[in-house]
Amino acid sequence: MIDALPEATVDRPVNRQAMRVSSEVAVQISAMNKWYGSFHVLRDINMTVNRGERIVICGPSGSGKSTLIRCINRLEEHQSGQIIVDGTELTSDLKNIDKVRSEVGMVFQHFNLFPHLTILENCTLAPINVRQIPKKEAEETAMHFLEKVKIPEQALKYPGQLSGGQQQRVAIARALCMRPRIMLFDEPTSALDPEMIKEVLDTMIQLAEEGMTMLCVTHEMGFARQVANRVIFMDQGQVVEQNEPEEFFLDPRSERTKLFLSQILGH
């Protein structure tokens, strides 16, 4: 159907072997529905994510991808069905919500760094105030992750002084500092200039190689092919198709998926 697979994002070979999937369940969503007012955005979502899985979610604009991701750490409330993250069910109980949020890291399209704090303070804020880790220790952790995303030297600058790609990497480091067991990404590269996209994808791939459970809304199909275990295609608030990347790209089953892929890969 599609002539060519999306191109690889990173030049070096990705170590897919390292990415192990356990059979433990990390996120379990069943029969979940969500409305905005009377608009039914998410319809009967069922989904299980195992620990170590890397899932890419794609679909046309407005199909509810962001909403789904945001339901997982309760930035949005669902109205029916169940979401169980790491064994904790998300109900209106604040304790559960707090617990889930500190287990789940999130990276936004527009980074949402705190502009009045330095990079280091951005990274240590939550560990100190939520996890109650001593400042010293939190800073060490932060530097560790900043090194990992390759910008330790920027630690004392303010977000406004960094390029978009650097900011997004800081955002990833900030989320990692809480030592989350699951990471959510909502179009982490779509606000970036082309040169910067690669930096961020590199970081994400590295994370994937280390076995992090990841749910990632993205249209970077190269990335999907390289690291995802599964690609989920959504439309009109429903999961329309899910499959392994190779098959998903080479042999999409549904008409919608075909149409979508031709648009995305075509131009």
Binding site: A31, N33, S38, H40, D44, E77, Q79, S80, G81, Q82, T91, S92, D93, L94, K95, I97
Partner: protein
Amino acid sequence: MTTIPDTPKPVFRPSMLIYDTRYRSLTIQVVVLFLVMAGAAWLIDNAINNLRALGKDFNYGFLGVRAGYDINQRLIAYDSNSTHGRAMLVGLLNTLLLAVMSCALATVIGVIAGVLRLSGNWVVARLMTVYVEAFRNIPTLLWILVFGAIMSESMPAPSAFRGDDPAASMILFDSIAITNRGVYAPEPLFDRSLGNIDLGLFLVSIDLIAIVAVIVAGLLGHRWLIRNADAIQNATGKRPVTWWKSLLVLFLPLIVLLWALGFHFGYPELAGFNFVGGIHMRNSLIAMWLALSIYTGAFIAEIVRAGIMAVSRGQTEAAYALGLRPNITMNKVILPQALRVIIPPMISQYLNITKNTSLALAVGYMDLRSTLGGITLNQTGRELEAMLLMMLIYLIISLLISAAMNVYNSRVRLKER
């Protein structure tokens, strides 16, 4: 739409009142409600106890009692035998008169100063800057006092108009006298007056109603002319000349009516201590009017300047590049955009003017606060009742003004993606 049954509700535990988002806000609201009620109850209980200890009660009966004092400026009939309630009404009308006059003049001054401040004329722009800064940085009350002093110090007393070789004389063909007690101007009189109708609370002159009706009709006619001209322009492209028709529609009926009523001016004349006859605009009114208008004008000037600057230069250039003349550019491109920015803050300035009229006693203008909140309060010793009533009245005026603003805002908001 199908609703999927919710997951079974977990049993209720007390800790959920705080930890469960569903109950949490309810809990907080109940606590807040409780605190507020308790606070209010405490205050009211104190007030009741205190009033009892002082042997006072809370009632508005005093509004029906003879006031016993005189008010110089009264828009409705009033004398010292009238009630405190009526004195309050006189004061309220004086407040509203002052507020409306000041809003109008402040707008004119503010718009002129704002435009001049943007002008390329160096001297004028500087002068306007001095004006704006001086008035914005010195308290209103001081300006009111200064204007009061200027009015009473630098104008001639009525006695200066007396004698064979008077030190001062009336202007505009002996029709207007400017004195340190105010300005006396000719008043309109009608030979064949239609009389008054009694509205219970006050009298309204039928002449006035007739004149207003004719003016309104003239305006409607003018609007119709403009509409008609628009329609013709839309149809043919050519705009018919309408100004003389407009003038005719606006003024001819009025002139006829005035002639029919036997309109003539009653001129002020010096008799006894003062000028008599004519309209007397008292010093206190003039001082308050000028002080509030010029003071607020400085703020409005800044608003207007900001509004005009908010319309980017590109808009003018684009209009010019399309061949639009400066006046059309102003009317159809710049003003509609600038007004959206200007009007909301302008209305809050109107609100400020209304609130600042309460300083009128500083120059002896008898507004609501000088009557109800001043003499009446003082003579009857009803602080609580008078102050609450006064606050309520100001609050209603303010809420009406802000309601108007909200309506306007929601109507002109620019459409965005």
